[in-house]
């Protein structure tokens, strides 16, 4: 079945909107995606017909809500090819998922039975220079808590078709002292897709845990946690056509089972006593309090929607858009693409600068023409530092993006150049 983008667009109510009197051209999906009607309907149906707290209730609504919530867990497990549905932990977003791992590790310091996870002075945590702050700050804070050393893989060449990790340094930066290697699958700032198997292989060789930030890949390509081979994978609902307020941490069951808890509270316990508490098995151990029930159910609907489109088709559609956009943008006077200039190992997120115009002005003036793009450091400030620029403008595509929208973007950027020069 060919990918019918016009049919897809009809599923997204917001795409009928106008801004500043012109039709919306939404090119900010890497920031957050829009939601198909089926996700909105699922939320409404949940609240209007089945709403109750989960796990705890013996009544009919409670059972319906629990079944819906746990069914969503099953859907997410299938979506990322997890071997066991109990490996899916629901969090509020990717950021919480990544912090969860970092805190569980530092909590090992005072947890009997978790000695193998302890991290301290002399140990090293490795990230990359292209991390989103959400996969960078948690590890800086972990180092602060534990006395471990924070290290990183650098971005090499910043010229055209640069924007990739210095592969030679993988073996020198990841060493026997490394305990965790945390890296982004697809960079939200550069579009770069990182060499996961290369990084995982090296981490495994030195006995380090691997944490993959798949926030930008889960919505755009078939994600198979078993094929990635990593230990933990984090992603976030709102970028994959699901509701805000829900994310996922996938982890190998034996690791989750060995890690101490992170947040304490209802539902994550086995038995509570004033003098001591024991904890539930994963995933519940890591889901303290009332979970984001409706949101998880809504995310389940989103992955059903994506699976019906077929993630292979989604990836092919977006790759075609990328191949269409890159050369056309590169032709615009004064435009410099920040990140790989070709479509190889690259997602459909394009950052650029325009000579003489501040990225915020580019984005703002595009908005006045109905085109929504993002400007800033995209929560990956070290990338801007590496390129020696304060910010970029970024256009990012999704299942509903068309080549006409890319034409509008290219024309819009040209116009911006004219206004400011």
């Amino acid at each position: 079945m060919p990918f019918d983008v016009e049919a897809v667009r009809k599923d997204f109510p917001i795409l009928a909107r106008e801004v500043h009197g012109v039709p919306l051209v939404y090119l900010d999906s890497a920031n957050t995606s829009q939601k198909p009607q089926v996700v909105l309907d699922t939320l409404t149906d949940f609240y209007a017909n089945h709403n109750a707290n989960v796990a705890r209730a013996v009544h009919t609504l409670g059972s319906e809500a629990t079944n819906a919530f746990e069914a969503a867990r099953g859907k997410l497990a299938a979506f990322v090819n997890a071997p066991d549905r109990n490996e899916i932990v629901f969090t509020k977003n990717s950021s919480e998922a990544l912090n969860l791992v970092a805190y569980a590790l530092s909590n090992a310091a005072t947890t009997i039975g978790a000695e193998r996870f302890r991290i301290g002075p002399g140990d090293e945590i490795v990230v990359t220079e292209m991390e989103h702050h959400s996969n960078l700050v948690p590890w800086q804070l972990l180092c602060q808590r534990t006395g471990a050393t924070f290290r990183w893989l650098r971005i090499g060449d910043t010229g055209p078709d640069g924007g990739r990790l210095v592969e030679d340094e993988i073996d020198t930066v990841i060493t026997e002292r490394t305990r965790v290697v945390a890296f982004v699958h697809q960079s939200n700032a550069l579009g770069t897709i990182n060499p996961v198997s290369r990084l995982v292989a090296r981490a495994r060789a030195v006995g380090a845990l691997t944490v993959v930030d798949a926030s930008q890949s889960a919505p755009h390509l078939p994600l198979d946690v078993q094929a990635l081979g990593a230990d933990f994978v984090a992603f976030t609902g709102h970028k994959m056509y699901g509701p805000t307020g829900v994310g996922v941490l996938w982890g190998r069951y034996d690791l989750l089972a060995g890690l101490p808890p992170f947040l304490g509270g209802g539902e994550m316990i086995e038995t509570v006593d004033m003098t001591g508490t024991t904890f539930a098995a994963p995933p519940h151990r890591f889901e303290a309090g009332t979970p984001m029930i409706a949101q998880a159910v809504g995310l389940g609907a989103a992955v059903d929607y994506l699976s019906a489109l077929g993630m292979e088709n989604v990836a092919a559609h977006e790759h075609a858009l990328l191949e269409y956009a890159l050369p056309r943008l590169a032709e615009v006077e004064g435009l410099r693409i920040i990140g790989p200039a070709t479509a190889v190992d690259r997602g459909a997120t394009i950052s650029f600068t325009l000579a003489g115009v501040h990225p915020h002005d580019v984005a703002q003036l595009l908005d006045e023409g109905g085109i929504a793009v993002r400007a800033g450091h995209h929560c990956a400030r070290p990338v801007c530092v590496r390129y020696g620029i304060p910010a970029t403008t970024r256009a990012s595509f999704g299942v509903y993006t068309t080549t006409e929208e890319i034409d509008a973007l290219v024309a819009g950027v040209r116009r911006v150049g004219e206004v400011f020069r």
Partner: protein
């Protein structure tokens, strides 16, 4: 007063609850286990004696909701005297039934082998109660495994 037609409280469950079978701990046993359902506090202590690869005897004591207590009673009736392999197959089938979320399709064959245990089908719709219905069955399984292990290491 009676319960609704589609009640999970089938008369058979209430009967077992009020008059549990194989209730009371047996004196001669190969293994004893104590299982707790932490979410509701249901408890069961269960002893088994094996002989010639079969469950020669089983006795239990417990505290908890009618579902947990009745299910243990029904389980005891079913497995006492049965070869271990058969008891384990029953346990498997019952577990499947409980995990069906109300969608199990019971065959006549099921009714033949599970007997009174099919009365618990309605429980499978209530995730919070499934653990209650499984408590005694899980305890039985552990006790049998435990007995086997003791035999091997003896």
């Amino acid at each position: 007063m009676s319960v609704p037609m589609d009640s999970i409280y089938q008369q058979i469950i209430l009967d077992h609850y009020k008059n549990p079978h194989h209730h009371g701990l047996i004196e001669e046993f190969d293994a004893e286990v104590h299982h707790v359902n932490p979410t509701c506090g249901d408890e069961v202590t269960l002893r088994v004696r094996l002989a010639d690869g079969a469950i020669a005897d089983l006795g239990w004591d417990g505290d908890g909701c009618s579902i947990s207590q009745a299910s243990t009673s029904v389980m005891a009736d079913l497995v006492v005297g049965k070869p271990v392999a058969e008891a384990m197959a029953l346990q498997e089938r019952f577990l499947e039934l409980m995990q069906s979320q109300g969608n199990a399709e019971l065959t006549e064959g099921d009714e033949d082998v599970l007997e009174d245990a099919v009365a618990f089908e309605g429980v499978s719709k209530y995730p919070a109660r499934v653990k209650c219905a499984l408590l005694g069955w899980m305890a039985m399984k552990s006790a049998v495994v435990e007995s086997d292990r003791q035999e091997e290491t003896a």
